[in-house]
Subunit: 399 residues, 2 copies
């Protein structure tokens, strides 16, 4: 007899990226899939020292015992200070919730807001996990056009009017997957639209600290006068993803409701993770760490863009982001990156992520995402060349 | 303008216990509310040593980097060995999922199985968080009668036939809130009903290791020949709740679906927490630790039952459980424990949890739950006496 699980879960495939991880384990594989921080960018020694201090210190019982759903008190405060780096003005702990990684911020927001069939506008393409989570709530994603400086505001307003969405999901800094950033004017405009139409802007910013060129911009939340922006950030890309610790900043009422949702799903984020992040921030270790890893990532990004410029066929146009972990390529001729993925990985021993699952309608197959953070310079050089040769040979056969 | 959050979340109060935590912070308060392990039962030194070993060892990068949703490989295996302590025969890692605390097992199961309006049968009264989570999925709880040896099997079968539930939620060992355990015969019967009616039995067992008298019984899952039982356990009560680490054991297909759900909600459980639990188990520290804390808890439980026998009015009948953390009291005369709670806490400086939120229909107000694990023997003595005097004075006025 079949299990009576819901259709929405029965039909839900594992997130596309995590599914292809298996293939990527082949020996010699150069993987530009995934979105892992570089192993050499993880502050191992500092985390070890902090964990040892914490567990031999005075707050040990608080770390091992149950904690409040809102989060570990000291971290709530240091995380708000962290958010202030992006112009976020909230300073009350009633405006913050510690979450189990940035992605939980998306899940909790959807849980609080969405009924079956409710619409969510997303910049197209967008973070595929957002679309994956949306399926678990039977929400409907609607793609919004994007310019080189992020979501197209005219299209955004038109689609807000047309589809009456509850949520607009945006990644303002170095978006996953395109690497694009939202301009200052568009941040203001997005906050204004949220107020005008009573829409929540869910601002997801895991990459904002990883800027390799240009000037830092304030968060959309910094322009939110009506309490319509939920700001979510994560320490996965700046400290360590394995700690699964992030923060949500929002209006007090919304934080209360997100907290009630979080209480149901996991009671609270592990306190040891929270306390490690807290102490890391309090010790002032973040900026020196960023000062170390940004040049590392910048060099990798530049190596990849240089290799792309040198090797890739002109039928693929790539972004050249100011930060983050990803470069996005779109074919100007018909090409199915999903269909080609397996052959590419097997014959060239290099891998990308097919673009399809990043699109709201899941239909465009002519794009791909490269991650540069988790490969060496030599791997970047070699992997881009291998894939470039592969694409060239495929394109040649079609003409 | 109001936020457009869903009605189900708008109307959802914070979990009753966590809401009254505020009141309990008053100086001198003796709290039998909550369900915390004793502070002195937390293995601080061992966890510190293990964390330090882990973070200076060879697996450090795996601990700080992203991990698989299924869980940290070594823990999956040692958690399965742990489950075998309760007669669980599954040994393949495809049958296990590491979860962020036992409660996440309830959330993920509901996410996978429930559509709006779907029914879940629960032993009445039951774990209030289960009812709380159920509200976030708009499921409908149906209470099943309980005998002194757990859920009444005749009523269970009748209600399965009548209400066609997707899930039956049971806590076989030392239930929260009553402390009751399910007899061996009833465990077999529950597994058989699950098979007969294609119902999932969600077996939640956080307390099974905390047995103070009687013989250990196999899990319901041990009698599951049809893959209809999802076994969930937690290391919160045996190692440390702050680590938020538990395990689900189920049929491979179900584990896959729960994993897809977990991928959406929090990607994976923090690896440091998982690795600490894993090494704790591998070092064989669990049994010696249990050998230490069980006498501690047994003494506390016996102190509480003795104080109850000595002081409490005969109009309240209390359970005398063989294990776990809770004692349950029911008035044999009309008495509203919820209405009396605030006055009791304020005038006696002792606190219990009102029974109402533990009932499927949320209507019965004549019961209460005591926790004994997190108080000293002197506090148990004094708190029971104060509350007994309070109840006596209230009862006297009514006659």
């Amino acid at each position: 007899m079949e299990y009576r699980i819901t259709d929405k879960i029965k039909n839900l495939e594992a997130n596309a990226i995590r599914e292809i991880f298996g293939l990527l384990k082949a020996p010699g594989m150069i993987s530009f899939a995934g979105g892992f921080p570089a192993a050499e960018a993880l502050p191992v020694a500092e985390v070890e020292k902090i964990a040892s201090e914490l567990l031999s210190g005075e707050d040990t019982l608080a770390i091992l015992q149950y904690g409040g759903t809102e989060g570990y008190g000291p971290l709530i405060n240091s995380a708000l200070k962290y958010a202030a780096r992006f112009g976020i003005k909230e300073t009350s702990e009633n405006n913050a919730l510690i979450i189990s990684g940035g992605q939980q911020g998306i899940d909790l927001t959807f849980k609080a807001f969405l009924n079956k069939g409710d619409r969510v506008l997303v910049e197209d393409p967008t973070y595929l996990a957002c679309l994956h989570i949306l399926k678990t709530y039977e929400g409907e994603p609607i793609g919004v056009k994007a310019d080189s400086d992020g979501v197209n505001i005219e299209d955004l307003e038109e689609k807000i009017k047309r589809f009456n969405p509850k949520i607009v999901y945006l990644i303002p800094d170095f978006s996953n997957p395109t690497g694009k950033s939202l301009s200052l004017e568009k941040r203001k405009a997005a906050a204004a639209l949220a107020e005008k139409y009573n829409v929540i802007v869910l601002e997801d910013n895991p990459y904002g600290e990883l800027r390799y060129s240009g000037e830092r911009l304030p968060a959309i939340k910094a322009f939110d006068n009506a309490g319509r922006v939920i700001y979510v950030s994560s320490f996965s890309k700046t400290i360590a993803p394995g700690l699964r610790t992030g923060i949500a900043v929002a209006d007090e009422y919304l934080i209360k409701k997100l907290t009630i949702c979080k209480q149901a799903v996991d009671v609270h984020t592990p306190t040891l993770s929270q306390a490690i992040v807290d102490r890391y921030l309090r010790k002032g270790l973040l900026q020196p760490h960023l000062d170390e890893i940004i040049p590392l990532y910048r060099t990798k990004k530049e190596a990849m863009t240089a290799a792309i410029a040198r090797c890739m066929p002109e039928e693929i146009k790539f972004t050249n982001p100011d930060g983050g972990l990803f470069i996005w390529g779109e074919f100007s001729v018909p090409f199915d990156t999903g269909a080609a993925f397996k052959e590419a990985a097997e014959t060239t021993r290099a891998a990308y992520v097919p673009g399809k699952p990043f699109f709201a309608d899941g239909l465009r197959s002519d794009a791909l995402r490269f991650n540069f953070s988790n490969s060496t310079l030599a791997q970047i050089e070699e992997g881009v060349k291998r894939l470039a040769d592969f694409f060239k040979s495929k394109l040649a056969k079609k003409y």
